[in-house]
């Protein structure tokens, strides 16, 4: 191991499931209103209504600061009223995010100074129909869930897609295209036989049964073929009740197409993010919106750069995993020096090196690979202790309980979780539902392991009961990748493809789904700031922006 000099640089089933979803939304809307957080009010305010005079609930009113492009979004309540937090005086763009059934509203050069009332916003419907017209500006606002609700096809055909194509990109990236059957066949082949998201190494065997692959291709060619018409769109409900008591802030990042992946906070209030297909990691100062980029030193010839997992330890040292080059790196932000630790894995370069990692209170890194849960010396990569797995080959996610006693992770590539009690050396490998797909997660304060399931299932392993509990997401076709637990025991997880962010209260089994200002919500990892009350939740969207979620209650 040797220091490497780096440099910082400045740069059908649908209706039934829809009804089920609505019912859950209603349940979440029934959570009694609480006193709004005064921190999150006191800025510009106003009313949103339709041109028919209806006061509109759940409209996303957004101000974009001209000075730093930071976007602040608040939601109208049942009376159509909205109120921003106190904002810096300056010039902003006022708009409605995702107006969907309404025509866009954009007002430039709005001067903001203090808590002034803004003029009423009146929105015009785009159609008198019960479905939204398939125009590009409408299609672009649809979530993956809404695309799938709107396209023809059997539940089985749609399941083929959601079971196999929900990891790397939005569904819009599929459905905006038209190809003939041969073309879809070539694309699906590349996608399902290529290793990881860059698809560089091809495995002829593929990830799944060839018949299933052929059935998916036929369905895609039918609904997205050369002559396929875009569907009129069925839409999910707008936010109501508690879903509207939140402030969401989005920060632009300096570069495009980097596959932003993980986020982790440091002790100074900065947010670090990784990029999975570029040489950069970044540090956002949320007070200014400014990002300092750090250039990870070059990887070997012929190897794609990119950092997957990122973690800021208690000493503000930053750790990252190079998924294609197969190293762990350590960055001291004070000196801007990177140190690389070769991570001895069997996979060839440009194939994922497997999963993610956890750091215990003593600074050891934990992983589960090759039928073993291992505690590894961070600076050498050498294993210190291992716990043999009998059923699963490894885990995708890795987590350590806050007291350092338990390891947990979602089994890979099967449906199940692995939990190890390092005090007793007991190893638990329970199965979870077919296609539940638990991936990354975290322990709660009672040492129960929670994991976000790619199949839309929130999974809990109760360490007292030694059993699994599962909670299916309310919104159809939504998927998860990770789940985190806050200081109050509430679980937070991005809902990929539904454009929503989940807050789950295990005590009441209540789901609150915050609707995001952009429709995909590709969340790879969440970091929770427990220093605020209510907590503040951060994630970096895989599409390339950093998001702060501040619930008011």
């Amino acid at each position: 191991m040797a220091p490497i000099s780096g440099h910082g640089s400045r740069q059908g089933r649908g209706v039934a499931r829809l009804m089920a979803g609505v019912a859950f939304v209603l349940l979440s809307a029934m959570v009694p209103p609480a006193q709004a957080d005064a921190r999150l009010q006191g800025g510009p305010k106003g009313v949103v209504k339709s041109s028919k005079g209806e006061l509109l609930e759940g409209m996303m009113v957004q101000l974009i600061a001209q000075k730093n492009a930071v976007r602040t979004t608040v939601y109208t309540n049942a009376d159509g009223r909205y109120e921003f937090p106190a904002l810096d005086a300056g010039t902003y763009t006022l708009r409605i995010a995702l107006p969907r059934e309404f025509k866009p509203f954009v007002k430039e050069q709005v001067e903001i100074k203090g808590p002034a009332a803004l003029a009423d916003i009146t929105l015009e419907y785009v159609t008198d129909s019960d479905l939204l017209p398939p125009r590009p500006e409408i299609a672009a606002q649809m979530t993956g869930s809404e695309w799938l609700l709107s396209l023809s096809g059997t539940g089985e055909e749609k399941k083929l897609l959601t079971n196999n194509c929900n990891w790397c990109h939005s569904y819009q990236q599929i459905f905006r295209n038209h190809y003939d059957e041969a073309g879809w066949g070539k694309i699906v082949y590349r996608m399902t036989h290529g290793a990881g998201s860059p698809l560089i190494n091809i495995n002829e065997r593929g990830r799944w049964d060839g018949n299933e692959e052929a059935r998916l291709v036929k369905w895609l060619a039918r609904v997205r073929g050369p002559d396929s018409k875009d569907p009129s769109f069925v839409t999910l409900p707008r936010p109501q009740g508690r879903q509207t008591r939140v402030v969401i802030t989005e920060y632009e990042l300096p570069r495009l197409e980097t596959a932003t992946h993980d986020v982790s906070g440091d002790s100074k209030g900065n947010l670090w993010y990784s990029t999975h297909r570029s040489s950069y990691v970044g540090r956002l100062d949320p007070r200014t919106g400014a990002v300092k980029e750090f250039h990870v030193p070059p990887v070997g010839e012929g190897v794609l750069p990119g950092t997957h997992w990122i973690y800021v330890d208690k000493n503000d040292i930053v750790w990252g995993s190079e998924n294609w080059a197969h190293n762990i790196w350590r960055l001291d932000p004070k000196t801007e020096q990177f140190t690389r630790i070769p991570w001895k894995v069997r996979e060839p370069a440009n194939t994922p090196m497997g999963g993610n990692y956890a750091v215990d209170p003593e600074g050891f890194i934990w992983k589960a690979r090759e039928r073993k849960v291992s505690k590894v010396a961070a600076l050498t990569g050498e294993p210190v202790i291992g716990y043999v797995l009998k059923k699963f080959a490894g885990t995708y996610g890795s987590a350590m309980s806050r007291d350092g006693r338990y390891f947990g992770g979602g089994a890979w590539p099967r449906d199940g979780v692995v939990v190890v009690d390092t005090k007793t050396a007991e190893v638990f490998e329970p199965d979870t539902s077919p296609r539940s797909g638990p991936a990354r997660g975290e322990f709660d304060g009672d040492n129960n392991y929670w994991s976000g399931g790619r199949g839309g299932m929130l999974v809990k392993f109760d360490t007292s009961e030694k059993r699994i509990h599962e909670y299916r997401l309310p919104t159809p076709y939504a998927s998860m990748y990770s789940a985190q637990v806050d200081k109050n025991g509430e679980v937070w997880a991005g809902e990929m493809h539904s454009g929503r962010y989940l807050r789950f209260n295990p005590k009441t089994v209540a789901f609150t789904e915050y609707v995001l200002p952009e429709p995909y919500g590709i969340d790879r990892e969440t970091w929770i700031d427990n220093s605020t009350d209510p907590v503040t939740v951060w994630y970096v969207d895989h599409e390339g922006w950093l998001v702060r979620i501040q619930p008011m209650d």
Binding site: V106, A117, D120, T122, L123, A140, R255, G302, V303, L304
Partner: protein
């Protein structure tokens, strides 16, 4: 929202809230805002919606080779990248005399190849417009190819 869904929602809300005894008065139909003249603005499109730019490959630029770079990344890079062995590299394509097919390299032959595909390549004629092809080929001709060590700048980012 579909009327049937809206009606179902309305009925469900009323039933559930009434059953809970917490039904509140219907929302007032008149705004009581201190605002003066109502704002009504109905542009056809809102380019601040990032998903619209994503949908149309316009995050980098509205047209030209920078837009072509974005199309290249999504439609070409995952096979024609600098690491893969299974597809031809496109760096310097327009400095070569011929394509693998033996046809001369020029805008028209490259566009035709993209439109009609090949052995392992889908035919893009159903999904890329003529404007898309013009932008894509201008990038391949003049600026190709992608550099993972220097991803394009985000024109929206302006915090300093």
């Amino acid at each position: 929202m579909r009327p049937c869904t809206a009606r179902w929602m309305a009925a469900a809300i009323a039933a559930i809230l009434a059953a809970q005894g917490i039904c509140r008065e219907a929302a007032a139909q008149e705004a009581a805002s201190a605002g003066a003249k109502p704002e009504s603005s109905a542009p056809i499109r809102d380019n601040y919606q990032r998903s619209l730019e994503t949908y149309e490959f316009k995050k980098s630029a509205a047209s030209g080779p920078e837009r072509g770079r974005e199309i290249f990344y999504y439609k070409c890079w995952f096979c024609h990248n600098e690491y893969t062995k299974q597809a031809p590299q496109l760096t310097g394509l327009f400095k070569r005399e011929t394509l693998l097919s033996g046809l001369p390299v020029n805008d028209d032959t490259v566009k035709d190849r993209i439109r009609n595909g090949g052995a392992g390549m889908a035919a893009y004629k159903y999904t890329l417009s003529e404007a898309d092809l013009n932008d894509l080929v201008s990038f391949v001709r003049d600026k190709c190819c992608w550099d993972s060590d220097a991803p394009p700048a985000n024109p929206r980012y302006r915090a300093r």
